[in-house]
Subunit: 458 residues, 2 copies
């Protein structure tokens, strides 16, 4: 795909420089707006206004929506007022809102000035909702029907108003007070008799969300109930907008990327990797590394305080990385599983004791199995094969006991912290590998030295 | 949500035991099939057949599809042949295929026997595609139109055949050889004049996938092109099926969970956490812990081989965890970012040098900044505050130089290995935190001791 676009970019640039506009237009109209947008994001800035003007009007708007904010701004600054009006008129309200949110204030003023008063009112309405809630994600362009209409009336209404709606696949039945009564799919309408009243064929148990519902919770309903559209209602059950599945998919993708980035110990960015500058990447990563580095110095303090014990039994030092890593990995496994479970809605705080009990049992089996494997390795490889006389049965016992206890602690910490974070209203993803590792490192060393001191009598 | 279901479960069980069937039925029909399925997954086994039989026929099939395999099997084993036939007849082909894939052989034989011959042929057709490709995900129930039909013909055809189709929102225009020519949305049909030919209003640049396209690639197209349905064609561009967005969403969720589990150092399971047995969880986690534990022993060997150096400068031991952790975290950040970029399609192998160059620059800035912070901390806290005379400027220099080099190595390894894995056809997610950490641990120790030996002349 990327290779094709790369070659295409060359072709387009060449044609543009040779001023072969009809050929250019012919190429562009065969492309999908999303691909045209990807091409426009890459192409040389000075060609952009020219190429954009070659697109047919409806395609221009669709392409514009899919573009990155920087070339969008560039285009708008080059538009005449009437060109800007043409694009804004073609946009769906939710896309117009996204645009307004990305642009600097002076560009926003121009956009709002060109929008017709009704659109301007709708945009301002949506803008009032916080950024991460259902209200900010919705569009207000849906088909509404009255329960008293017949199927024929409904189809007539759709024919009259449908062109400007984001979807007509699901229509919404409301009463005079705009309260949501039910939904009718276009399929049901087509397959019903003309004189049947809408009230008879509508689906009444409608899944809907409030305007202030968190966008992650709203989008989770799409996969749970196999939806393609989700109605948004105010707190008196009045229909104010709809969320379409394409926007839900975008939110899902962005939220997952954010979770993964946080779990990897970074501040999430909303730009693709290759478009993020070195400085932005540095800013997203450095604070976490610094914080984790400072936390890790406590682990160092623990080693320092047992320096004398280590001096007597130097062999113990060699097993520190293995114990720390195994602990960290065990904890990560538990935390990653729990974090994903929470974000999929499989695990809730009320399940805590179920989760804990399960992790304890898994930890004991894993711990004993790994300790056994390790004991065999210590005796056969380190002692017999490498002739290390310091690896006595007692030393091996200290290492293996530490392993069992470390894994137990790691799993308990790994499943507890994300659930606690969720309970306290933080993002559970923060309590993932890097933090769990740091905490478990310290714990494993404390356990190790405790066993060493008491068993080896250091 | 879970709390409501929990109470509901109690109510339902109580009503069932008091044999209050009309009341039970009244409750169930107001619920969404997905919620009924969740309830059925939780409820006592012996009530299941009874409750299921209370559902209206179409709702029964929708509920059945959403249930977990175990209760599904239980129900099928209790069904009479005619009951089974009723459910199978109501299923869409793709759901029937999913069912057949989950059930044991003797149950499958019964299901296929009850399906009508055409459905059986369709099921067997889909079953022949490998599990993770577009062909296995599709359904064959779509509306096909001929280019010569008028809008009125098309609507008539939809009215006649639409009831059994999974979606009528998008109809497919094919020629006599079933080659895909274009698509017409129901919206376009409704908004067009009755006598217009389909060929005039159809959309010709159709995004489609081959039957053997990887399911992850196929589902990525949904968010890229804002699709709700994606046609699947054979290698001669003949239309064989469609994938609907709800199935794409499920794949996306499953694949993301798999990626996250692999990144957390586990074998992916396809069951929700709380439904996985302790033994299954153990089996998914143990092999990785064992493998990583064995790899970590090499890190131990490095310490052993520098035991004499450490005995002379024992202070160096205290900084091992901090250096190892910072290296591991730096590497994880790079690998997590690159793995996510690959799975979103933002990064390809051809971008390797761009990625590498970026990571090197980020590593140098991060490394120098962290080393500087660390130097100040070593001098002010460890030396002045804790009066540790062993922390000399030279020792601090060894630690800080190691830090810069470790971070550089970690970022290079962290971005290289996932891209290499992708290039070699492995899942890049494997090259995530746990493996990167293990490799970087060894590297950081080698760098540390090398600097220590040459600068401190040990």
């Amino acid at each position: 795909m990327a290779e094709r676009t790369a070659t295409l970019e060359g072709t387009i640039t060449a044609l543009a420089e040779q001023k072969k506009y009809p050929a250019l237009r012919d190429i562009l109209v065969t492309m999908n707006p999303a691909d045209v947008a990807a091409l426009f994001d890459e192409i040389d800035e000075h060609l952009l206004p020219l190429l954009f003007r070659l697109l047919p009007k409806d395609m221009a708007a669709e392409t514009f929506v899919e573009m990155e904010p920087d070339p969008q701004e560039l285009l708008i600054r080059g538009f005449s007022d009437s060109e800007l009006k043409e694009v804004v008129d073609e946009l769906y309200v939710d896309d117009a809102v996204d645009l307004v949110e990305e642009m600097p204030a002076n560009v926003v003023r121009r956009i709002l000035k060109q929008a017709d008063p009704e659109t301007r009112r709708l945009i301002n309405n949506i803008l009032q909702y916080p950024d991460d809630c259902a209200g900010s994600l919705m569009t207000t362009e849906f088909v509404d029907l009255l329960p008293t209409m017949t199927v024929a009336d409904a189809v007539k209404r759709i024919k009259r108003t449908g062109t400007d709606k984001e979807t007509i696949n699901i229509c919404y039945v409301i009463d005079d007070g705009r309260h949501l009564l039910g939904t009718v799919s276009i399929r049901t309408l087509i397959l019903s008799e003309d004189d049947e009243p809408v009230a008879e064929i509508m689906q009444e148990n409608v899944i809907s969300v409030g305007t202030l519902t968190d966008q992650e919770d709203a989008t989770a309903l799409f996969s749970k109930y196999d939806l393609t559209v989700l109605p948004v209602v105010d707190n008196e059950n009045r229909l104010v907008g709809i969320i379409t599945v394409d926007d839900a998919l975008d939110v899902l993708e962005t939220e997952t990327t954010e979770d993964i980035e946080i779990m990897g110990g970074m501040t999430p960015t909303d730009k693709p990797y290759l478009k993020t500058s070195v400085w932005e990447t540095f800013k997203a990563r450095f604070p976490w590394l610094l914080l984790l580095m400072i936390s890790a110095t406590f682990t160092g303090q623990i080693i320092t305080s047992f320096e004398n014990a280590l001096a007597v039994a130097a062999v113990l030092t060699a097993y520190i990385p293995m114990l720390m890593d195994t602990g960290g990995n065990s904890g990560s496994q538990a935390s990653v599983t729990v974090i994903r479970g929470i974000s999929l809605g499989d695990i809730e705080f009320s399940d805590y004791f179920k989760v804990l009990w399960k992790e304890i049992r898994v930890a004991v089996i894993c711990g004993v199995a790994l300790a056994a494997a390790n004991f065999v390795k210590l005796m056969l490889v380190d002692r017999l094969l490498f002739h290390n006389p310091e690896v006595t049965v007692t030393v091996a016992a200290v290492i293996c006991l530490t392993m069992v206890c470390t894994i137990l602690c790691a799993k308990v910490v790994g499943c507890t912290l994300p659930m606690l974070a969720e309970r306290l209203g933080f993002d559970p993803a923060v309590m993932s590998s890097p933090f769990i590792t740091t905490i478990v490192d310290a714990l494993s060393l404390l356990i190790y030295f405790r066993f060493a001191v008491s068993i080896l009598r250091l």
